[in-house]
Symmetry: C2
Subunit: 572 residues, 2 copies
């Protein structure tokens, strides 16, 4: 690879930047305007969800977008604050520092920096494959459970009551205990916003279409729904001074762009946040790459997962250093960005400019923004993540996958987000190992008149009482080596006239050191019972490796190229 | 299964007990005498290794043997105190309670009871397969490292100095610091025993054979070596009263049989010992089953691993309740038992009787037994466990397996036995998942004039530029689902004229929910790029399951029975 090619693999912006035209510019700016309108309320809302002051959400929506544009391989991914990462940030930081303190903000920023460190590290060592350990049922269960948890935790803002807790039972009982303090005005604002946003989300598009509004315009109006609720509730609250009636508002937000900030953190805090930062990074990465791949495939573009780690790492580094918190690629905004016609990551840069303008000039206006409005925005957004249909489908398709998912959901809701996702991963790995500890195998016999061998239980085949042939349909490794031993010994115990055991290996891609030792043990034990051990149809690379061991020298029998040849030789 | 058959599966003694004859009795008693002679010094030595008073070792050599005889499926396994489990017991208990206190003995007994609980639990839920996660390289590395650690830790008794520590560097530096306190008499006894035992182990057999001593007699003399050192050093020490010269001796050992003991333990202690107990149980189980299977295969007998869990659980329960500590099936004694002609587990019962007699009548005699003698017995026994040759062979055979083994050895020696074995297990699982996250697959084409399809990179094959066929050689599951997606998208990006992608699945035994979702994503994304997605050669059970999902309805292409049919249909 030439230097230029290597450089543009590391800096994908060099590639798309070269072919940048006026048409691309127009598309990107149009998309950026729409995404900015969506991002303003979202950035404020997700900051609230993360337990942070609103400006932290705004700061997290500038630098990260610019850095992703430089390093990212997706043309249309919209990076920034997202719901699940915000919840995880709140859970991780809330477990160490009390919300509302400066320490809390600093710890949230530190979490973004640690997440950046993990992502960059994994990218540097090309460990993108680690994300594969998160099975779809676990992710899906985790996202659904997080959605429920987030929605319930935001109800306090809609009701205007105090509530706390990090698990579903805690939050619900805390809500129940404080229900008598509910504020009528807050509830009115929150419930109206919820109703309006639901209407916009589910009905408005169709209504506008039936009224003959052009599709593009209708889409824009639907996307502007949250901004509209923001504007209207600000007006209502400020005109009637509802904050004096107990409606919680966002309050003063410092105007101006974020400055470079870095506080040397305490080592103890770093230690505590290291594991949560890892989990947030991996989950954010998986979600982000999956969105990016969906969008890229539509235009036959490629996503490089390891470069995505670098890009998301850079984005989080930028976020942490400019006073923001953890960011990743968001599903909803990315789809909007794509649909609005974004052609290159430059759209992200323009969105960042839009956010900067908003931060400079609009922050005084959001002083009266009710928290209930933001909570309603969050609830409507996250309930779309809850996918009961998927749960039913997985139940029908695989009980085992369902078990992993159910454990993830139950532990995420009942214990903590970290325990939920970690248990899901461990459980799915264990279940997989359990499954593969019983490899597919069959005792086979010759189909008369052919050279084919088939399962003796399913076909009329020819066998010989001094020979047993066991066909193994999977690679042999430590988890199934013992199963193979057990299988062979039970065949040995069941066949008194046995003289030859043939292991037929047409589907064995690998034999690891544990399986090799099992084969040696089988060979040795069969020999001490006066039975010879043979192999047949061993693949080339597997054979090459066996030659590096002493196994073939010690083998009591032979290695046959074909099973037919083995049968003819041994039966004669 | 009839009641009788079920009962004798749970109580294997019912089966062998029925056919018990006078000949069997003679064989069993003979073997028991030899094993008892071996077990007396070993039980004292391993108790010392576990940091326990000598009688605890004796107690652990009675009840457990009887209970294993009732529940065990091996005819010849010799259960009792073993080196590695004793080391692990010392490490686990030593981390919580100070050695030499009553609390220490009680905690060691509790560890045996917890180990019993784990074993019975695993046996009850038939979780014997869990042992499969311990790969051979990890076990082998762990046993070798433990052997080194034990040998070095016993050097203090040979030198007559004080030393402490649970890691190799700690023990070595502690030995070095106290070297000036070495006791000449102790060193003389220890070194003589070491030299004599080495000679007995390596040379005596051959020497006796060359002198014309019959093989059985020669074997008996070799096995009596340790007992001989015990007798001689007791005589020497008591005659010259060497204990007054600073030679550490065993001291007073309470005579009499163990009584039933149970102290309600503190919950905190239970919590701390739960994980070590689990590790000891699993490692003990693996070693024990592997010995049992080796011996059973020689006589074409069967071992039931899940019943072995029950039997070892009962043995540890019996040990804990009668004042003993953790026990498992030992390699050396079992081989001796087998070679000496033991026919049934009744040999174990007779050994237990022998140990009871020894405990009743011989304990006053071992008062003057020097600890150096016991240490020499241990050192010679455990150095046989250290297997450098195996390490070299694994290095040659598989670098990846070697990595798991090296990590186990380094962490066992340098950090702790628990961390060592746990890291080994985790690392080998991760390495396996990493490997299987990149399944074997190949783009294939038609071998002209046949119906066979082969890798286009290795064979001269016919292809069609609108069709790409990808053959997958492994089951599809969460760890490799994303790899498949990446692969298909890169094929899509590389072939501009592509119209059809065919996934050929002759070796796919399973598609889990994650892989199903990946297939759905591939189908969806290919469709949005105007490419159809097909499957070919899907196995019956896999197809049955796919029918339970919505995948086949949504599939843009078709499912072909044979790849040839797919090619002919799509290329035309």
């Amino acid at each position: 690879m030439g230097l230029a090619a290597q450089l543009s693999r590391f800096l994908p912006c060099l590639e798309w930047g070269r072919g940048y035209t006026r048409e691309t510019l127009v598309s990107d700016v149009t998309a950026a305007v729409i995404v900015t309108i969506m991002l303003i309320p979202q950035s404020l809302a997700y900051a609230m969800l993360a337990g942070l002051p609103p400006e932290v959400g705004l700061y997290a929506s500038m630098m990260p977008l610019v850095l992703y544009a430089v390093f990212g391989t997706s043309r249309t991914l919209a990076v920034g604050p997202v719901a699940v990462a915000s919840l995880m940030s709140a859970a991780a930081v809330g477990a160490v520092v009390k919300q509302g303190t400066t320490g809390y903000v600093e710890a949230s920023i530190l979490l973004a920096l640690l997440s950046a460190a993990w992502l960059l590290l994994m990218g540097f060592f090309r460990l993108g494959f680690l994300a594969n350990f998160l099975s779809h049922p676990v992710i899906s269960g985790f996202i659904s459970a997080s959605g429920i948890l987030i929605a319930v935790s935001q109800l306090k803002h809609v009701l205007g009551v105090k509530a706390s807790g990090h698990t579903l039972p805690e939050v619900v009982s805390s809500l129940g205990a404080n229900l008598q303090d509910a504020n009528g005005y807050t509830l009115l604002i929150g419930a109206s916003c919820l109703a309006f946003l639901w209407f916009v989300r589910l009905r408005l598009g169709k209504l506008l279409a039936s009224l003959g509004v052009p599709k593009g315009m209708a889409g824009f109006i639907v996307k502007a729904g949250p901004v509209l609720t923001v504007i209207v509730t600000i007006l209502v609250t400020s005109l009637w001074q509802l904050d004096r009636e107990g409606v919680a508002i966002v309050g003063a937000v410092p105007a101006g762009l974020p400055a470079f900030t870095f506080n040397l953190p305490g080592l103890e805090l770093v230690k505590t946040l290291l594991l949560p930062a890892f989990l947030i990074s991996v989950i954010g990465f998986v979600e982000s790459v999956s969105v990016a791949q969906t969008l890229a495939a539509k235009r036959r573009q490629r996503i490089d997962p390891n470069q995505e780690l670098i890009a998301l790492g850079a984005a989080n580094l930028g976020s942490g250093l400019s006073g923001g918190y953890v960011v990743t690629g968001g599903f909803a905004r990315s789809v909007v960005n794509f649909d609005a016609g974004a052609q290159t990551p430059a759209a992200g840069v323009f969105t960042a400019v839009g956010m900067a303008v908003a931060t400079l000039f609009l922050t005084p206006l959001i002083h009266y923004l009710p928290k209930a409005t933001l909570a309603a925005t969050i609830i409507v957004a996250v309930l779309a993540l809850v996918d009961f249909r998927m749960m039913r489908e997985i139940w029908v398709y695989s009980k085992q996958d369902f078990l992993a998912m159910a454990a993830t959901v139950a532990l995420t809701l009942g214990v903590s987000v970290e325990v939920g996702v970690a248990s899901g991963v461990i459980l799915s790995v264990l279940l997989h190992l359990y499954k593969s500890s019983r490899p597919h195998c069959a005792v086979v016999g010759l189909v008369p008149g052919t050279e084919h061998f088939r399962n003796i239980l399913r076909h009329e085949v020819e066998t010989c009482e001094t020979i047993v042939t066991l066909r193994i349909d999977e690679s042999l490794y430590f988890a199934n080596a013992r199963f193979l031993e057990d299988k062979v010994y039970s065949l040995l115990a069941a066949n008194a006239k046995l003289k030859h055991v043939v292991l037929m290996c047409p589907a064995v891609n690998e034999i690891d050191a544990s399986a090799l030792e099992s084969l040696e043990a089988i060979n040795h034990r069969l020999a001490s019972a006066g039975v010879k051990f043979h192999l047949s149809e061993v693949k080339g690379p597997v054979m090459d490796r066996l030659k590096r061991s002493h196994f073939l020298e010690a083998l009591s029998g032979q290695v046959f190229l074909s099973q037919y040849q083995a049968y003819r030789t041994l039966a004669s």
